[in-house]
């Protein structure tokens, strides 16, 4: 192919095209910033509309969540209580087990064992959450009902347990990273003082990695608060304020999903509630993620 007669000199043309490419790439990178602006703007706009109808404090401090009843009541605390309960159950499972797994993989396992076990654990994190929801409802709940007969068909505990298992790889891989970052001389010093392996692990390595492990724990909490499908399928729809894990509970995420599934008119107050609840959910996870990042940044400074 013959080149067209140059209108611009090579150098000038190159400068322009390089500048254009730079701008185009920057625009793509800016999409992520726009996404955040979009998320916050969208939630804020709808939430403020909602607060025009329902006072902020009625929403944040109210004990009754019955937006579909007449007269409606918009106290979000039952949903918050449901979220915290399910999340707490998940944490009781995933934090100790995840940390123990991390300790095993980092301190005890041979290289070959680790090479086999780690990717297998990661599979757990790759199973779609709808599958976990199915498992909680059709396997874990019937199993629990055999032992504890007052367990309801929809209950917080099986959703929490299954969610906890789902989160194990998150806790274990982040904690393992933190444990691995502990310098070897620290371990050797402890051994030199006559400590056994367990003592080295629990009294030297884990405390030294504490901020990294804490960051992992906070991230796990944030993850459990934001999980939707398991609770939507297995935890039920009760918005009565109570904390019995054998009974049905509704979380903030499950509520948003349930209203989306229903056929409420999109201009109704009921529909606007999902944005207010979404705003609360976003704020909670955002703060937790920020804290986790701060804690992590601190521990990086110590060892690097």
């Amino acid at each position: 192919m013959k080149a067209a007669p140059p209108v611009l000199t090579g150098a000038a043309w190159r400068k322009i095209s390089e500048g254009a490419i730079n701008a185009a790439l920057l625009a793509c990178a800016a999409v992520s910033v726009l996404t955040t602006v979009g998320i916050i703007g969208n939630l804020l706009f709808e939430t403020l509309e909602f607060f025009r109808i329902v006072p902020v404090f009625d929403f944040l401090l109210g004990l009754k969540w019955t937006p579909l009843f007449d007269p409606p009541s918009f106290g979000v605390l039952p949903l918050v209580a449901g979220t915290i309960s399910v999340s707490a159950i998940a944490m009781v499972i995933s934090l100790p087990i995840g940390l123990l797994a991390a300790i095993y993989l980092s301190e005890y396992a041979s290289r070959n064992t680790r090479r086999v076990l780690k990717p297998l654990l990661e599979i757990l994190a790759g199973i779609p959450t709808v599958v976990y929801g199915y498992f909680a409802l059709t396997f874990v709940t019937p199993l629990l009902r055999q032992f504890v007969s007052e367990t309801q068909v929809f209950n917080a505990i099986s959703a929490g347990i299954v969610m906890g298992i789902m989160i194990i790889p998150l806790v274990s891989s982040l904690s393992e990273e933190a444990l691995n970052a502990v310098p070897q001389p620290l371990r050797e010093a402890a051994y030199g003082l006559g400590a056994t392996k367990l003592e080295v692990t629990l009294r030297t390595v884990v405390p030294a990695a504490l901020s990294g492990v804490t960051a992992a724990f906070i991230l796990a909490i944030s993850r459990s608060i934001g999980e939707t499908m398991i609770v939507l399928i297995a935890a039920g729809q009760s918005t009565t304020l109570q904390v019995n894990p054998l009974k049905a509970m509704e979380t903030m995420t499950a509520y948003i999903a349930r209203v989306s599934l229903g056929d409420n008119p999109q201009q109704s107050v009921e529909f606007k509630t999902i944005f207010a609840v979404g705003m609360l959910l976003f704020s909670a996870t955002f703060v937790l993620n920020l804290i986790s990042q701060r804690v992590l940044a601190k521990y990086r400074q110590v060892y690097q």
């Binding site: 490419i21 996404t35 998320i39 790759g126 199915y134 059709t138 399928i233 999903a257 989306s260």
Partner: protein, 290 residues
């Protein structure tokens, strides 16, 4: 006071405690795997009787015996293809910018912090974003296009992080060689960096896309329908996907639908497994080359 014999006895105890702990730690590690095995076996046993050619080639139906998974399967493929189409170029371009072009200034810092934060936003919040902006704002309705755009934003942070890692793995000496030969920055990126980083980027992309295949909550929020008995005709068509169909079957009380859900899960896991297998094969080929 401790005598030597006391010490020896205590040491025995300390060692025994250590041995017990290592057993507990190992048990904790494999517990998750045992549950995974139970889950897979349970789903397979329940769904087994329903997995046949008819299941794959029929539309969802109110009668369990006639129900199949064709429209959700095709819907999932459409959705993932469109999502890849939108998210791949944007994320690769963003990663190139951050790795090869960006200077260390406040804007770069903002973009990086922002990507890290976006990765932690619950998926259902992306659903609310999609509902507000794509479904209502842009008037795309409950279409494949709205779903794919929502999914694209959802996986963008993961994709950018993976692409950046792949680009960072290209040795700087190769860039220096290209620049020394008079190549411009873009020529260096296009002819040297991208070809080297491509398999890594592809692997990361497939993993992120498989997350999009399994996601349900954001699509529920944007209003993807749970009962679709036709195939999508284009990006503006209404649609359903595998996880939504599974959810739909799961939430029905009849036992047969529960088994259909199990069969659907087997198909979903098979799709994810093949996507991951492709990713692993690509990664291995990359490692061999370098």
């Amino acid at each position: 006071m401790n005598t030597p014999s006391d010490f020896r006895r205590q040491l025995e105890n300390r060692k025994r405690l250590g041995a017990a702990f290592s057993v507990v730690a190992f048990a904790a590690t494999v517990l998750g795997l045992i549950v995974l095995a139970v889950l897979l076996i349970d789903v397979f046993v329940k769904g087994q009787g329903w997995l046949d050619w008819q299941f794959l080639t029929s539309y969802p139906s109110r009668k369990p015996a006639e129900a199949g998974i064709l429209s959700p399967l095709v819907g999932s493929l459409w959705l993932v293809a469109l999502t890849a189409l939108f998210s791949f170029p944007v994320s690769v371009a963003a990663a190139i910018y951050l790795e090869e072009y960006a200077q260390q200034n406040w804007l770069t810092g903002l973009i990086q912090t922002n990507i890290a934060n976006l990765a932690g936003v619950p998926s259902i919040v992306y659903g609310l974003l999609g509902l507000g902006i794509f479904v209502r704002g842009l008037g795309l309705g409950r279409s494949l296009l709205a779903g794919a755009l929502t999914m694209s934003l959802l996986i963008l942070p993961t994709l950018i992080i993976a692409a950046r890692e792949a680009i960072r793995a290209v040795p700087p000496s190769l860039r220096h060689a290209s620049l020394a030969l008079g190549g411009t920055r873009w020529q260096t990126v296009r002819n040297v960096v991208l070809p080297m980083a491509f398999p890594g980027i592809l692997t990361g992309t497939i993993l992120a896309l498989s997350r999009a295949i399994g996601e349900t909550a954001p699509l529920i929020t944007i209003g993807a329908l749970t009962y679709i008995a036709f195939l999508p005709e284009g990006p503006l068509s209404a649609f359903t996907v595998l996880p939504i169909q599974i959810f739909n079957w799961t939430s029905r009380p009849q036992a047969d639908f529960s088994k259909l859900a199990a069969a659907g899960i087997v198909i979903l896991l098979a799709v994810l497994l093949s996507a991951n297998a492709v990713a692993i094969i690509l990664r291995d080929r990359l490692q061999k080359r370098q």
